[in-house]
Subunit: 339 residues, 2 copies
């Protein structure tokens, strides 16, 4: 059995450190092949881990970190200066090889900056991409970039497509994944210069490229991999989350106001819950940062215990499937700068 070590930033996210530590313990209970290193305030972490049974506890190591990178801090500055932060210490373990994977629910920008500056990019990769498996109607779609690289050159989008395709094939087990570029319409004449440039590169590539996709196609899951820049991906993901939260909040209010609706909800609750679960854009169980030399995953800032378990499970899967090596192999055999 291959031993897998995952470094977890215990202090990042809205529900840290409690949900992070308990999620990590749950992951150790679930997967007998993993070990976890929790970085953060050791007193707090030890207290949280108190009730964890010894056979699980023995596979969790706590490494004290005296600093935390806040959600609003400047990512690059924080990663460069906060040498004793829980995030930086955990990432350094990936660089040194002490851990193969890293999870944090903290500052996304700092995770990306640390991915590049500490863990390091794969040779041939200019910019990393944050991917996420989106809930859709027909099939799960893997979308990238969700915010790592704000604006892109055509070559960046091309590399994202390459990495997304490997991830879809090797990790999500999709045969010959269909790749599309997110644009402002499906017709060839749509897109800006950058998207059009990426389209040209993808047309010439060996990927199963299906052209442009538009906003509503995201929902239906009309392709396996959707590629966009980090600005657009971030706006789209947050909008989708916002609509689901908005509808939930309005539905709750309306049901409170109407006796009829209240009665209906008694029967409808399972259906509403099913739709909510299916379209919960927050439940993506860890977004991999692709293009770096390790399994670096970002968990949602609002992650609770199950989301942390799910992110650790995704990291474990990525490591077990040699995700990084697979992407590297694909890069080695494909031209990365086709222009």
């Amino acid at each position: 059995m291959k031993k897998i070590t995952i470094a977890v930033d215990a202090m990042g996210g809205d529900n840290a450190p409690h949900a992070i530590c308990m999620g990590a313990a749950e992951a150790c209970r679930t997967f007998p092949d993993i070990e976890i290193i929790l970085t953060g305030d050791e007193n707090k972490i030890h207290a949280i881990l108190e009730p964890v049974p010894p056979e699980v506890r023995s596979r969790i190591r706590v490494v004290h970190a005296s600093e935390v990178i806040g959600m609003d801090e400047h990512p690059v500055v924080a990663i460069r200066k906060k040498h004793h932060s829980s995030m930086k210490l955990a990432m350094e373990m990936v660089r040194s090889g002490e851990a193969q994977g890293f999870i944090s629910a903290g500052n996304t920008g700092a995770i990306v900056a640390g991915g590049v500056l500490i863990v390091g990019r794969l040779p041939g990769i200019d910019r990393p991409a944050l991917g996420t498996a989106l809930p859709t109607i027909e099939r799960p779609s893997f979308m990238l970039d969700m915010g790592a690289t704000v604006r892109c050159k055509p070559e960046n989008l091309y590399q994202f497509a390459l990495m997304g395709s490997v991830y879809s094939r090797k990790i999500l087990k999709v045969t010959d994944p269909e790749v599309t570029l997110l644009s402002n319409g499906t017709e060839e004449i749509k897109g800006d210069e950058c998207v059009a440039g990426a389209r040209d590169l993808l047309m010439k590539s060996a990927l199963n490229f299906k052209g442009y996709t538009e906003g509503n196609d995201i929902v239906w899951g009309r392709s396996d991999v959707i590629v966009c820049d980090g600005f657009t991906g971030n706006v789209a993901l947050k909008l989708a989350e916002g609509i689901m939260h908005g509808l939930k909040s309005l539905l709750t209010d309306e049901v409170k106001k109407s006796l009829l609706a209240k009665a209906g909800m008694l029967f409808m609750a399972p259906t509403v819950k099913l739709l909510w679960t299916r379209f919960n854009y927050e439940k993506y169980g860890g977004a991999p940062l692709l293009g770096v030399r390790g399994a670096v995953l970002k968990a949602h800032g609002r992650s609770k215990e199950p989301a942390i378990l799910s992110a650790i499970s995704a990291a474990r899967n990525f490591i077990e499937e040699d995700g990084v090596e697979m992407i590297q192999a694909e890069l080695d055999t494909s031209p990365t700068h086709m222009a």
Copy 2:
């Protein structure tokens, strides 16, 4: 009573010409101060107008157009070459002053191209913007650009903010509208170079600028005017429409599968319908193309009769409130190139 003439492209949109003609007739019935010029296949239009009562019919003029600009045609090429198209003929009436307003549910790109090439830009405006009043939870937000100008310079976004602010104040009757820029996060360090450049211009302007807004804020309506480039706006609007359609379709399927849910829907139907109506992103009743010398409005491609009536009503309102002159006056007193 100021007489208002609106030229309507009878052939554009999924439900043309029937829904367009009947919507126009309904508008004449509703507003005694308007006259409508319908451009398109005169035989078809006359046949559709057959049942319209004479007192309404007398305020509708039909102008024959032998060509139609299709949904997939190249916008600029179509506008330049199809001299006898229903869209071009209607737009030329705005240029000549024969009509003050124009409506089409057809090819969006062609409407934008025609707005610039036929109707003409306002002096000082580099690029036009397509705006739309979005359904939100707290208050309606006016968002622009939804697809007229794919990628922007900071100066374009600044002008969109200026025009959106005038539209919000004069047409939507919002006092001192709050303006935000859509970005990949609310913190100052977010945004690409263009958004950051626009932010600098807006900070120095007299507008009530409130900084960045992110994807989920769109849903809650946290500002009166949201500014973005046409690429981002188009992806966001289509995604929002797609989510609502996806949920509707899933809900219908689930209710069919479950007896319990079917029973619940008997009670819940009014609530579900209310949510659907409130969040129907297609029902924006005509998106104004701001920055051109006339009331040019785009109706949704799927518009039926009520949506056409609503778009004509919006055009009438825009003309009555001197929308174009108001924007021009604002441009004249504000620096449009502050950089």
